[in-house]
Amino acid sequence: MTALDDARTAAVLPDDAPSQARPTTLAKALNMGLRAAMEADPKVLLMGEDVGKLGGVFRITDSLQKDFGEHRVIDTPLAESGIVGTAVGLALRGYRPVAEIQFDGFVFPAFDQIVSQVAKVTYRTQGRARMPLVIRIPFGGGIGAVEHHAESPESLFCHVAGLRVVACSSAADAYWMIQEAIACDDPVIFFEPKRRYWEKAPLDARPAARPAGSTFTSVVRRAGSDVTVASYGPSLPVLEAAADAAAAEGRSLEVIDLRALSPLDLDPVVESVRRTGRLVVVSEAPLESSITADIAARVTEEAFYSLSAPVLRVAGFDTPYPPSKVEGYYLPDLDRVLDAVDRAINW
């Protein structure tokens, strides 16, 4: 139990209190969230490649080493298994390490430690040892990067029992979700939509503005009645744009931000599908054995008789991430989402 847990139960602002939200980039919100968590709990440590003086290649840990010291923001040797494997040991010693993996494509050297230790220590010890460990991973494409810098490996972690997997899509979520992840006694793989790092959105960071419940839940970002469209992380703005475009054509899309990928919070999705009869799931990751397949399978099972069309998926293709000059074709965009919406309606 940390200070954050107490905060969760603290009084929240009345619904009519004036907001003090300020436009904040998602990157800055993460930085503020990390800072708040470090202030709240001296056991919170940051570690990773270049997280110290440089503040990370995306500056998410900017100035935290300066303010909290080299013993709380640790530049590690260049070895991802080492980062995660030592974070496990630190967690066993009572710390709450937040490990940064520099880019999605570089998490794989740590995969063994994540699958065999991070995910299993609690189960193996029958709950005697906990793994309050956060692994932050900037993910997704669309930034014109070279190979291995634009991947979406989240489904792989969803398949591994013992991990929690979440993805933030806005500044406010970034701020509160990273704190919830750090306060969680289970390991959390925390995906950050790197191409949205510099987009601004309102953030009210006062403790009293903390959302009442967990942020690891699906939320309806926009109500609608014809087709439900659901995604997470970097694709949310694409969904919003699709909802706008659809509205111009007289079609009403309900937009859901899943936020939690494992465990999924499917009740809001199923509830929505019961009304719309149609679901389009969007993700940059390939299709095979993916989180989008999982959502399709589960929603179909739960809302079989409500569905007027199969759950359709708009996703990355079943190829390696392509050279960036063609990534615009690879990534789910407005048109592909609208095309799927059309297909769902005309099934």
């Binding site: 080492g82 040991g89 630190l90 063994d112 430690q113 709950g127 005697r128 040892a129």
Partner: protein, 426 residues
């Protein structure tokens, strides 16, 4: 113990031209298998050659196979009858329940047993060097370390009977769970040791508040895994108080240690700039003295240290293994002469520090332990099916909680038919 815990640091000398390897390690073209070039040595010949050269690097020894004690200038040890008798008793008891584990597997009571036979000296020496405040990260063969940490041997049974994956509390016992994925725990240990530094419990030199260290156990085969390297890199960079304790029992299942390295494994430390020491792993006194020194170094902030305990896996890799397929009986016989228990017994007898009554007493205690071990095993019941769903997470989990409820309800459906569940799920 000072920084010159050795004869003068053979790798300290800097040279302008770098390092050339010793002649015995230079060979002609030679591949993974028979060289396509006529006349080149076969890999086995090379292995044999290496074995010969490797053994030229004598390990630290205090007690000879013949039971003669010689103090070591760098690793002093106060040896008295109590110490010797205690170590003897430890080794005998551990060996006894280890043999019982093998027998229980043969009788179908365990799925598998991992014998430590032959490694009692390496383990009791290291285990008794640990102070209560130190933390240990075992692999899967460290029954002797578990013993020294106060884990009752019966606690080890669940893993091998399949009733659990681990049962003790790692924090309370300061003995982490057994780790099966080779190398993983060594990185975890390096991280734990970083935590000891961050906690300020290293290098205080305050008798009121004893300093702490961590020890990580792994095998000769494990040294090839990337995780071990990364652990040594992290420990080196962060001056972590971790003793890397490699039990080189000469074999990784069917592979001789020469598959893992062309030079003795303790040389690995040279690449990272911390001490590497080879100790006679069948000499419990040497293992105790060297590990104590190494832990002290770590507690003082002079870590890390690599210790290679040169020993022998006298039994199969596990009860599933058949070593006759890959090694000769001679080899085992040669090592029998180096038995870690026997040399302490001889020493005790020869120096008159123990009489027959003592040996009889230990033997009786061993039999009682074995009987208790066996009884406990036979009485163990399988966990209930909902155990599958327990402790996957520390906090509630909507998906899994529902899966669990649905499955238990499904199982309850069988309750109508007597023993239907048992029949189906046996």
């Amino acid at each position: 113990m000072t920084a010159s815990g050795g004869d003068g640091a053979p790798h300290a000398t800097a040279t302008r031209t770098g390092d050339a390897p010793p002649d015995e390690h230079r060979r002609g073209a030679l591949g993974a298998g028979a060289s396509p070039v006529a006349g080149a040595p076969t890999p086995r010949q090379v292995v044999a050659g290496l074995k010969a050269t490797a053994s030229a690097e004598d390990p630290v020894q205090l007690l000879s196979p013949e039971g003669e004690f010689t103090p070591h200038p760098d690793y002093p040890l106060d040896v008295d009858a109590d110490l010797l008798r205690g170590l003897y008793r430890d080794m005998v008891l551990v060996r006894r329940f280890d043999r019982e584990g093998n027998a229980l597997q043969r009788q179908g009571q365990l799925s598998i047993w991992v014998p430590l036979l032959g490694q009692e000296g390496a383990q009791i020496g290291a285990g008794r060097a640990l102070a209560p405040q130190d933390m240990a990260f075992p692999s899967y063969r460290e029954h002797g370390i578990a013993w020294c940490r106060g884990i009752d041997p019966t606690e080890l049974l669940g893993i091998f009977r399949g009733t659990d994956h681990s049962s003790w509390d790692p924090a309370a016992t300061r003995f982490h769970s057994y780790t099966i994925v080779i190398g993983n725990q060594v990185l975890n240990a390096a991280g734990y040791a970083m935590g000891q530094v961050l906690d300020g419990v290293v290098g205080r030199h305050d008798p009121e508040r004893p300093d702490e260290a961590t020890i990580a156990f792994f095998g000769d085969g494990a040294t090839s895994e990337g995780d071990i390297h990364e652990a040594m890199v992290f420990a080196g960079s962060f001056d972590s108080p971790v003793v890397f304790y490699c039990q080189n029992n000469q074999w990784a299942i069917s592979e001789p240690v020469e598959v893992q390295s062309r030079v003795p494994l303790f040389h690995r430390a040279r690449g990272y700039g911390f001490p590497g020491i080879r100790v006679d792993g069948n000499d419990v006194l040497a293992c105790l003295a060297v590990t104590r020194w190494a832990l002290d170094e770590c507690r003082s902030g002079n870590g890390p240290v690599l210790v290679e305990a040169f020993t022998y896996r006298m039994d199969a890799h596990t009860t599933s293994d058949d070593p006759t397929r890959y090694r000769t009986a001679d080899e085992g016989q040669a090592w029998n002469l180096l038995d870690p228990i026997e040399r302490v017994r001889v020493h005790l007898v020869r120096t008159g520090q123990a009489d027959q009554a003592f040996f009889d007493g230990v033997a009786a205690e061993a039999d009682a332990l074995a009987a208790r071990f066996r009884e406990h095993c036979l009485a163990m019941t399988p966990p209930p099916p909902d155990r599958i769903f327990s402790h996957v997470y520390s906090e509630p989990h909507r998906q899994l909680d529902r899966q669990r409820a649905e499955y238990l309800q499904y199982l309850a459906g069988f309750a109508d038919t007597p023993d239907a569940g048992a029949q189906v799920h046996a």
